[in-house]
Symmetry: C2
């Protein structure tokens, strides 16, 4: 059985009209942040952001199944020395639309952007907001269990603080080399804090988020042959993750350049991803 991958070029609000009601199991997306990526996406002003996003979230609510989940990756920027409030305002408005704000996961970016300022430290985290249509959403917790036990308890305890943080990141992402060891040990459920580095060495595109991020949520909230949607596909990370995990995927991207890259890349990347996939397979059992 083959999975289906569709990528459409156009404005998210328009293309979403063509999708059927209650057809999507999971939405994972990272929309352009306010006033960011001006060169590629034009940049939505901070004070227009909520107004811009609400028509899209309304359509997303329509296409999502009652058992489905919407994961929104977003972070407010600093304006005039203060954090902007549009993310909070967006949550409040989306609840009025009928969304349930179920949870807020934290993505701890280990390799955040460098810099020094007199009144501020580096920003090392982003929000991963979980919204649902009903309280009866599907969640497959066993698919993302992480190894625990003596390895983490005793070995890590003797390491330095920085080492411990580094190793925790591996645990959170579910990757590592000694998978065979993990299998014989105890497994534990993860928390709502994810430790992942951004992918900066990628040549073709500025990767929005690492492959592990959508992969983690896809494993957690869908099963094989479910349908995953990303209305801001960008470089296609969510779609590749979905296809790789044998989920049907739908992508929308407004920029033709990215659209073509994703359309071609799906086939191209399959082999590369498949190699990595073995790691997932082990962990998913």
């Amino acid at each position: 059985m083959e999975v289906n991958s569709d990528i459409f070029c156009g404005d998210a609000t328009d293309v979403l009209q063509d999708l059927g009601e209650n057809t999507v199991d999971l939405i994972v997306t990272s929309p352009p942040y306010a006033d960011q990526r001006k060169d590629t996406y034009g940049g939505i002003p901070a004070d227009k952001y909520v107004e811009w996003f609400l028509p899209i979230s309304k359509e997303l609510l329509r296409v999502l199944k009652p058992t489905g989940t919407f994961i929104l990756n977003i972070k407010e920027r600093v304006t005039n020395g203060e954090r902007s409030t549009y993310v909070m305002e967006l949550i409040l408005e989306m609840r009025k639309q009928g969304w349930l704000w179920t949870e807020e996961f934290i993505w701890h970016k280990k390799n955040c952007y460098p810099g020094k300022w007199p009144n501020r430290f580096r920003d090392a985290w982003e929000r991963l907001l979980q919204f649902n249509k009903t309280k009866q959403f599907h969640m497959y917790q066993e698919a993302v269990m992480v190894p625990m036990g003596d390895w983490a308890k005793t070995r890590l305890k003797n390491l330095s603080e920085t080492d411990r943080i580094r190793d925790n990141s591996r645990v959170g992402s579910g990757f590592g080399k000694n998978i065979s060891n993990w299998l014989t040990r105890d497994m534990a459920y993860p928390t709502n804090v994810l430790h992942l580095a951004t992918e900066c060495g990628n040549k073709n595109h500025s990767a929005a988020f690492p492959l592990e991020l959508p992969s983690w949520f896809i494993k957690l909230f869908t099963k094989e042959f479910d349908t995953v949607l990303d209305p801001f596909a960008g470089s296609g990370t969510t779609l590749f993750a979905a296809e790789n995990l044998r989920r049907n995927s739908i992508g929308i991207e407004i920029l033709e350049e990215y659209y073509h890259m994703v359309k071609n890349g799906i086939k191209e990347k399959e082999y590369y991803l498949f190699e990595k996939e073995e790691g997932y397979a082990f962990i998913n059992k």
Copy 2:
């Protein structure tokens, strides 16, 4: 020169009236969460939380110096399957009072409370909201610098196993001398994500945060002989941290039981804390 420590028993709003305008350099507090700890504090309903807190934050704005900072440790609880929105509403309302919402730090609780739910993972983080009165607040970034990531990777890797164990055993009871060498090496500024374990061994108070948490902010936002305020003193962690770092401290606690405990404990705990302090002192130089 001696530092001064005052602890008052009473309602925060009332006692704050007696404090002078522009007299406090730093406020660090963890107010009772909505509907939590009903047995001890009576529990403020989630839908009344903002209304309850605003008179207090208004007084805090008055007593804080223009160069001062207010750190609010808070996390919304889950109600009826959803995260409550009172923290977001509180931020929006406090901005209307004149507070600047400068930053949101994340406290990653490494050993968070265990448990399993069908639709939710363990909650491993809390918000540390930074508010300011003006943009010209004091910040002493050098006081909280941490060793660089590269340092752990290369330097530590070359040490023998016994060396590593010996050094780490010293950490528990105060640092060894050779750490002073590390300090002259590569240090980096931290990020806005704090990795701290919760103190589970705390006997008398239900929801105390670890000593390192207020200590970190006290070092970051004050200098010696500045004044630190905690309007919800609880078991007195903030006050002990302040005194220990030679800052003047003011505490307010509504429950007589805690009030007496803190009042007596300040002297009692001094020795215990002082031993630990050596570790901090090294890092602060």
